[in-house]
Subunit: 210 residues, 2 copies
């Protein structure tokens, strides 16, 4: 089963490969329908490797959850780092986030799977809740930063804006998965742009009012 029959891989590498494949398979099939054997095989091992590196299925799932230390926000910050014009920034952010939503559907599926599981599994929720909190706080900080840099006075409380944008994004992911034709890339991007513009109004400009 080992790809190279004569060479044993370092433990870390085995773990890494299993985790990567598990992420893929859990996203594709959901927790219940993901078979440990398939994950192992996809990574080039057998079940034994999984049980040798993780406590079991639930633990493997938990490891993925924690592993996905979101780089999402970092990408957004990077995208707008050198800009100082708010409308441009909004356009860029909307476009970037949209691309992520539409192109990396696996992430969306996995997120949905996490949430659905957290709804009934305390352990999952205990891992997921602080992650979500971090995301919201990160978003709030980024918004504050942008507001300060552009000299814009946000239309609403920062934490609320962060919560709204965070939830709106998740909701758009959900909607795009449920109805990808009607809620396509364009619709997602427009919604994001509109929401951002409403919450962070460019001084003197009134968005899209026909």
């Amino acid at each position: 089963m080992q790809r190279n029959p004569n060479r044993r891989l370092p433990r870390e590498e085995v773990r890494r490969r299993l985790l990567a494949e598990a992420t893929r398979v859990f996203a594709e099939r959901g927790y219940a329908d993901a078979r440990i054997e398939d994950i192992a095989a996809g990574a080039g091992f057998t079940k034994g490797a999984v049980y040798s590196n993780f406590g079991g299925k639930q633990e493997l799932f938990g490891a993925i959850l924690g592993d996905g230390a979101e780089t999402e926000l970092a990408a957004v910050r990077e995208e707008i780092r050198d800009l100082d014009d708010l409308p441009t920034m909004i356009g860029r952010v909307a476009s970037l986030v949209t691309r992520r939503i539409v192109e990396d559907s696996g992430r969306g599926h996995l997120g949905l799977e996490f949430a659905a599981r957290a709804a009934r599994d305390e352990h999952t929720r205990q891992i997921l809740a602080p992650m979500r909190r971090d995301q919201r706080e990160g978003a709030a900080r980024s918004i504050a930063e942008v507001a300060e840099r552009t000299g814009v006075r946000p239309a609403v409380d920062l934490d609320q804006a962060a919560l709204i944008l965070h939830c709106l994004t998740n909701g758009l992911v959900n909607e795009h998965i449920a109805d990808p034709e009607a809620v396509d890339a364009e619709a997602v991007e427009r919604a994001l742009r509109t929401a951002l513009t409403c919450l962070l109004p460019p001084p003197g400009d009134d968005p899209g009012r026909e």
Copy 2:
């Protein structure tokens, strides 16, 4: 197993009871962990009744999906039917939707379960997508109606506002499930109020911009 050993229930009634119990159990345990036998037993029957009334597990699940012909929107319309003051309406709507989200967690769980399943099951998606579309369109109509009645000119395109509010609501449900302590009723309600106020600005009033 039949509760009343001497009386046979009409087919419709059997179906209704099974559906009701299935809704409960699917929401509580999720698709995979919901056992047909438990659903049947909970409704006062055995597995056979399920197979006699539905094609199988997947079909039972689908029947629930279709059955939940959302009364959500109707409740909202009812709530604001007699009002004509926009801020009051916004307050009422936010409060009502929040109560639904926080109190009826079963619905939220079920919605999450539907979405997660739709992500990988074409058949589920084909049922879910038009339902979601209906919801969005209904929301758009309601917003239009409110705008007309209050004489407010919406800040943004109606369909976009509907999409944003719809997705925001779903995102809030998701977030409340994932982190119910941080995203509690108050946070949800404020977020809704803020978003509504931003999208439908009361004439001359500029929301919370201190």
